[in-house]
């Protein structure tokens, strides 16, 4: 029983990170039908923003060597603020990497490349400014909360539970907003058919900006939380999560919010089931599972098969 609880906790806490990451991809994909490859860089920025907002200083190897903000915010305040800053960056990316192509009616595939370029530029900019060294959000940032807790005999780190709770909370809020609010419904209308939505008076451009802003906010929050959990291992630390997030996005069903969550949790659980002596092959198991799932159900777990217009 204890082993089963441990396995579930391991899988859910790992999967929550993937789910949070994939949610950001999903939002942009749902309105534009393309994957924003700069999402990983925005995630990374979220972690750096959080680090600096709580009073962290830049190391010795970048142009901003030794820089430290004149104030230090508590983590619970720095995190949403970092999310907002990441959202602002995501809006800039939309403005320079997506909108010009959209305005010219370019093939959506081209936006993959411009977003990839934007991501590479951002990562290198981070390196130029603050160097390649690791930064860590202090372990005591969660106040007096214990580092780990026991649940039914299983051990889990408090920050992992926090990630799980935040991911769950954000999914609930997003789902309520998309299904229950006027603007959420407008977003769905744009994702179904932007031209018709525009004709019906829905500002498609504005809705796309909202999707990018929300996606950036989620990436920023995820980056800050993951940075707290595992330290910020240099400007490239979002890449691994970005690849896994893509897998989760496809597994859950492109553009499906509940699918992103379900996909994240399934991949997390699949990784947790890998036996100890094969632990270095967790990615093989996760992606192998993804491969088989897609052979059986190409639209993903909760994705829809759209009829082809002829």
């Amino acid at each position: 029983m204890q082993d089963l609880v441990q396995l579930l906790l391991n899988g859910l806490s790992t999967g929550a990170v993937y789910a949070l990451f994939a949610l950001g991809y999903t939002l942009v994909f749902s309105v534009l039908g393309v994957i924003n490859f700069a999402h990983g860089a925005v995630f990374t920025l979220g972690a750096y923003f959080t680090y600096f907002l709580i009073g962290g200083g830049a190391g010795a190897n970048g142009l901003l060597a030794g820089l430290q903000l004149p104030f230090a915010l508590p983590f619970w305040l720095a995190l949403p603020l970092a999310g907002l800053m990441a959202a602002a960056v995501a809006l800039v990316i939309e403005r320079i990497a997506f909108r010009p192509l959209r305005a010219q009616g370019a093939d959506p595939l081209l936006a993959l490349i411009t977003s990839l370029g934007a991501g590479v530029v951002l990562v290198n900019l981070i390196q130029l400014l603050v160097g390649a060294e690791s930064y860590a959000i202090p372990t005591g940032s969660l106040g007096n909360l214990p580092a780990a807790i026991q649940l039914l005999g299983a051990q889990v780190r408090t920050v992992q539970l926090l990630l799980l709770a935040v991911a769950a909370g954000l999914v609930v809020v997003l789902s309520i907003w998309i299904d229950g609010s006027r603007s959420g419904k407008a977003l769905r209308a744009v994702s179904e058919d932007p031209i018709t939505a525009q004709l019906l008076g829905i500002p498609s451009g504005r809705m796309i900006q909202i999707a990018f802003g929300l996606s950036g906010f989620l990436a920023g929050i995820a980056g800050g939380l993951v940075g707290l959990s595992v330290s910020i291992a240099g400007p490239y630390f979002g890449i691994g999560y970005g690849l896994k997030g893509l897998g989760v996005l496809v597994l859950g069903g492109l553009g499906s919010v509940p699918g992103a969550v379900l996909g994240g949790l399934i991949i997390g659980l699949a990784e947790a089931c890998v036996p100890a002596d094969l632990s270095g092959y967790r990615d093989v198991v996760a992606y192998g599972f993804l491969f088989v799932m897609l052979l059986v159900r190409p639209q993903g777990l909760l994705g829809k098969v759209l009829p082809t217009k002829v």
Binding site: A148, A154, Q155, A233, G234, D277, Y281
Partner: protein, 393 residues
Amino acid sequence: MDLLRRVQKALALVGLGAALASCSSNRSDQLRLGAGIALTGNAGLLGQDARTGLDLAKLQFAQLQPRLELELEDTGSDEVGATVAFRRLINAKPVAILGPSLSQQGFAVMPMADRAGIPVIGVSTTAPGIPQLGPFVARVASPVTVVAPRSLAKALQLNPGIRRVAVFFAQDDVFCTSETQIFQQAIRAKGLDLVAVQRTSVADTDFQIPITNVLRSRPQLVVISALVADGGNLVRQLRELGYQGQIVAGNGLNTPNIYPVCQKHCDGMLITQAYNPSLDNASNRDLLKLFRRGRPADAVPPQVTAQAYTGYQVVHEALAKLKGTLPKGQSLTSLPLADLRQRLLKTLLAGTYQTPLGELRFSPEGEVVQRDFSVARVSMDADGRSGRFVLQP
């Protein structure tokens, strides 16, 4: 008036010629030394330490003959990046190359330099088999076979009751896989129980799953072969998940750059040191003096910084010695480059050097022979942000 202009022109031409001549005569004494180290990616933290060592050596030897111009290339942290960097370095026609940072990269790129007939000296490549890659390959970083078992022995000395040992290693890095083999052999040779072996990746940051797997086997000692970012995170999460026993870390974590990663949880880790900052020789005094400029008076260079400095120093000293063997008036740059490299290699391998790492020499196949090692215990300050490597008696 016309005559005056002609004189002015002639003077200007003479001045220009003199300037060019002086410029070219300065350059004629200057040799190019290549360095390929990881400044980016997950080995970037090790590479930054090496860069510091190279910069300090450049300062130290700037005024001494022969003059060396350092050509630095970022190898990134993978073989592809290292290959690109080494190709550029080889094209730059250096007299020798220092690097790369990782053994994994070394196996890919050191043979490139060897085929080009360029002496290549590893400053942090400690996996077995590096000097055997070719006649032009050498290293100043002692092999893991010599280094790794010492910290294990120290852990057992500090706590003779240890029986149950668990091992973590990054399976996608050749240094880590070779180091763990040495550790595991030593564990078995000492009659200890190897209760768990967990494979990780250098790109991993979340270790909840492997750690909870290992903790079920109730280890009294955990031995880690990883690099800085993944290894530091592993140590931190081990402690957060309740592990209280001794931790022995491999050479990949042998840098103060782990402090911000594992923070207060770095405390107590044992790591073998190929560099002893308290060594009292002229070379180490020079290194410490340079390193402490703009730093606290008791600041101590990381091991890789000392090794990179040493790499530069042995090349410089070998070149100076070689210059001394040439007929009077002949400069090193007058030798054909291929010949110069051959002679440098021969001189380098024949020499004995007083370095910050102690007295060094090389075996005929380029393996470093070093006598002085010690084991350090990481001691973190109360704020958990800074610390030091405290050498154990």
